[in-house]
């Protein structure tokens, strides 16, 4: 099997524009950002949440809190996996009670990660609403979950991979579509 990159879906500028648009949509939908908190799903949701925080500050001149959520302990596939996922850190140093929580992740696929994140969030408190922002929605949902804010919809086949690379974690800003092909 060989790994082959097929196309670049978003470059640095594309990612910036998508996130900026999402920031505007968050302000519009919530009529401001006074009650908003951002929670990034580890690992690439966290830098995306920080970027959204920056854009929201540019728009509304207010700094809103950002937390990071690790969902490893909420996974429902631990028994099915051969490799054991390393547990990351959950750092939410603010109350989510009564808040409008914007959950941020890089790719929305089956919806199982988001389901885990919802389970984790309700263990931390009772938010007023939970909204979902993703950079890429690639379809193939296995659960009734949809995103409130989407950077880009990318119809994919199940064989394809979506690779989101960010400066903070990978040294470059880009989203590519790739595939494993028989040699």
């Amino acid at each position: 099997m060989i790994y082959q990159e097929k196309a670049k879906i978003l470059d640095k500028e594309g990612i910036r524009r998508s996130l900026k648009r999402i920031a505007h949509e968050i302000v519009e939908k919530n009529k401001g950002i006074d009650n908003i908190v951002l929670i990034g799903i580890r690992k690439r949701g966290v830098p995306l949440a920080h970027r959204l925080q920056k854009y929201l500050k540019e728009i509304e001149d207010k700094e809103i809190p950002v937390g990071s959520l690790d969902i490893t302990l909420y996974r429902d596939d631990l028994n099915l996996r051969l490799d054991q996922p390393e547990v990351g850190k959950t750092e939410i140093n603010f109350s989510i009670e009564g808040k409008d929580v914007i959950l941020v992740d890089d790719v929305l696929y089956t919806g199982r990660t988001v389901r885990c994140a919802l389970d984790a969030i309700v263990d931390l408190g009772r938010p007023k609403t939970v909204q979902l922002a993703v950079l890429i929605d690639r379809g193939h949902r296995e659960l009734p979950i949809r995103a409130d804010y989407v950077g880009k919809n990318v119809p994919t086949s199940r064989k394809e991979l979506i690779e989101v690379r960010l400066e903070e974690t990978d040294g470059i800003d880009e989203v590519v579509i790739a595939e494993w092909k028989e040699e």
């Binding site: 302990l73 909420y74 054991q84 390393e86 547990v87 750092e91």
Partner: protein, 314 residues
Amino acid sequence: MLWKHKDLLGIEGLKKEEIELVIETAISMKEILKRTIKKVPTLRGKTICTLFYEPSTRTRSSFELAAKYLSADTMSISVSVSSVQKGESLLDTVKTLEAMGIDALIVRHSSSGVPYLLANNLKCSVINAGDGMHEHPTQALLDVYTVFEKKKRIDNLKIAIIGDIMHSRVARSNIYAWRILGNSINVCGPSTLIPPGIEDLGVKISYNLDDAIEDADIIYILRLQLERQKKGLFPSLREYHLLFGITPERLKKAKSDVLVMHPGPMNRGVEISSEVADSIHSVINEQVTNGVAVRMALLYLLLGGGKIDETSHS
């Protein structure tokens, strides 16, 4: 780094990276302990059994809470009311438990080596919760984690382990752990309580407390195991306290930010004075809290999915 062991039988033989993996995982588990709802669904559907042939409060309840916080079901066998009293052998007892479908067995026994025997005969994971005078690995791991939390490092430390080294499985597991992590260790106690050949483990021996704790980063005080000493290995408790008891005056010999640790239960006024036990240097209560976090980490690593190397028993 992946955890590849089926069991946790001792610290001896673990790699530095494996100890670090437990510590890293425990950091995330500690965060759960700080929440209002201290429960995650990670080990839902798993059953964990504690089998203690010796009395215990903290280790047993710590394991049970760790399992419950991870949503596993727990069962504890009390030896005094089990078929052990009817003469059932240890192996038959555990085989019966395994046949009922347990996923992990946590065992404490007064004979060294029992967890190894069980691990070789069972498919489920076995965790050593203390075997005779041999090892108490989860205690050492929670000690390492507590030091990491306080000092932000687990290497280049000067550690003094004081007291009854001979009868102490905690001492042995701690010596292994701190040596694997690259620290210098002084052991100190009455000569009758220092086992011959202990220096082969890479520790320095001292019979003078003031020398042993000079410039120490950590003073690890062991419990005087009165229940294991019927032979009169030291003249009196009063003399022991005078020569080897940690008092505020003695503490001045160590570094100003020294940590005082004790695996509990303490004999106040014997190996440790009450002033020291309750002082700002003491992290004894933190050790108890961290015990739950570290045991959660171990249960996750042993049972939370992952590829298991069935041939490995450490």
